[in-house]
């Protein structure tokens, strides 16, 4: 009987741990399936470009979107709304941000690509979202994003949105 009890106790402790193990599992799962629109981390352009088979005739629309959380007193917007891109090539765009306040503020952007299945094929090679951004009082900046839409992007996608939300970093 002690064996049964021991096994049961062990199982419940393991399952408690499993709840926490679900976090890395979920993130991996999201990366594989594009579940929550998070794209994979930073990648170098050369590596990606080597693997591309470019179809010059194909064009997809990449739309840029920016939000600022209501607790952050910044202005933040894309400098261009849409870009026609050929999958497999490197492109660059810029986002404009301005600290409207008289204080230095640090923010961090979250990003999301929709539709989810497109996020699997969206490679950012340079992005302000990889680091925290500090803007001095009234400072304005242009923040570049370079990206490659993978040429393996499935045929059913012809428009995708790259969306950022800037949050105030709580100190």
């Amino acid at each position: 009987m002690n064996k049964t009890v021991l096994k049961a106790v062990l199982a419940s402790v393991l399952m408690f741990g499993f709840a926490f193990a679900l976090i890395p599992l979920y993130n991996t799962f999201c990366e594989i399936t594009g579940l929550n629109g998070k794209t994979s981390g930073q990648v170098t352009a050369d590596e990606i470009l080597k693997k591309q088979i470019v179809n010059e005739n194909r064009l997809v629309t990449v739309q840029f979107d920016a939000s600022v959380n209501s607790k952050l007193n910044w202005e933040f917007r894309p400098t261009e709304l849409n870009m026609q891109v050929t999958p497999g090539k490197l492109y660059k765009t810029e986002f404009y941000a301005k600290n409207l306040s008289d204080k230095d503020i640090t923010g961090r952007a979250t990003y999301s690509v929709t539709p989810g299945k497109a996020s699997l094929y969206f490679n950012k090679t340079e992005c302000f979202c990889f680091t925290e951004q500090t803007l001095k009082a009234h400072e304005e900046v242009l923040m570049p994003v370079t990206f490659i839409v993978d040429s393996k992007l499935t045929e059913d996608v012809n428009i995708m949105t790259l969306s950022y939300t800037f949050y105030k970093l709580e100190s």
Binding site: A8, S12, A19, L35, L169
Partner: protein, 540 residues
Amino acid sequence: MSHAAVADTHDHDHDHKPKGFVKRWLMTTNHKDIGTLYLIFALTMFILGGAMAMIIRLELFQPGLQFVQPDFFNQLTTMHALIMVFGAVMPAFVGFANWMIPIMIGAPDMALPRMNNWSFWILPFAFTMLASTFFMDGGAPAAGWTLYPPLVLQGGQNLAFAVFAIHMLGISSIMGAINVIATIMNMRAPNMGYLKMPLFVWTWLITAFLLIAVMPVFAGAVTMLLTDHYFGTTFFNAAGGGDPVLFQHIFWFFGHPEVYIMILPSFGIISEIIPTFARKPLFGYVSMVYATAGIAFLSFIVWAHHMFSVGMPLGGELFFMYATFLISIPTGVKVFNWVSTMWKGAMTFETPMLWAIAFIILFTIGGFSGLMLAIAPADFQYHDTYFVVAHFHYVLVTGAVFAIIGGAYYWLPKWSGNMYSERLGKIHFWWSTISVNVLFFPQHFLGLAGMPRRIPDYSTQFAEFNMWSSIGGFAFGLAQIFFIVIVWRTVKGKGTTKATSRVWEGAKGLEWFIPSPAPHHTFQDGAPVNDEHLAHVSSH
């Protein structure tokens, strides 16, 4: 059972019941006394949670805000669910398990009697803590029993209390489950093979495994809420790189098995009642066991059907839709088996049988709406409407609660030694069954017409059905007060007759071979199990 009932019986000197309230109840290690405590506790919580439901239905009686403020309304819906799920339904089943499992398998007591005491006495403290949040600044948790962040993190100090209460409940449930497993696996009487066990024991064994598998996951999820709120972690905070949807995945990984934790023991109870009053062996005993295990297994791979609207990739939506479809197969097998058990029997319709029949019909209606909800493109319309509210109340009230009440009538004579009044029992049945349908059936229409759930006020187009629903609700609530009166009178022996040891003509199983009321200690020297005692003698 009470002292008065005990005093009425003469031949129980050999019972060695501890004297005095503290020794008898607070320090008890007796499975029957602990079972009684669980049942009384569950009934108390049922009334408390029911009282909240009455206020909710009162506010929804007509459009406009008459009685409570929206924030308090949300507190009520949240606490109503938490109390009914963790305070009423689950402890009631643990009460049945404590009372019946040792007797049914011929064991003298539960395997771990002192832990048994502990797992019960945690509950009152946990619920006092949970209920105390009502009196705090900012009130009780108001984000729904699903506790979705980021909303739940806006709640203030009640979060810490709610989380610790859930931890305590979890520990209590896990200890209870370990006890059930240890008892069933190690303490069966000789000749009580696994495939001779009553189905109630089987369903509870499988439920206990589910509890061990998912209660710790729930504890983990709420712990993450706690650290997000107080210690600056960002598991579910997008600004810090977390994902609020992740909580929903973890929650429903627990939550879906949890709903089966609340229904599998009901299947067990119904499977005991139907053969007794049909005077015919349970049809397809082995397939019932496999169906239960199949439902339990499937419950782990369908969780995201609660989240079709969060925006999943197509593949995920299809997988969870198909997997959910599959559940209807073993569930269907169960329903067909019950009907086949009734078929060509020689039925009588005492109160427990009435509840069991109502269970089959009404639970199946809940199952139908469940199948409809499983269809993702239609769920985009049903999700988070009153259609869902109607669905889960059909499976939980006319499902789980009806089974509990039916089981209470079925075994009450065994527990108390007195036959309840059939006349009052039948009044209680018809009163409840009619009113519960007036209460929940119109909610299907409300949901289809577009009324979202968890709202304190609604557009005038929904007024008519809400009024019907509220009237049904008040009547159903009142019927349960009547139930308490019936139980009280039976236990006190008012207007009742003495129960025989067999109680029901067609009853089979070990519990019917001991006297009524069941003596304080049973099968101390082992149980002599002959195949003719048993309901299920495997002939395969």
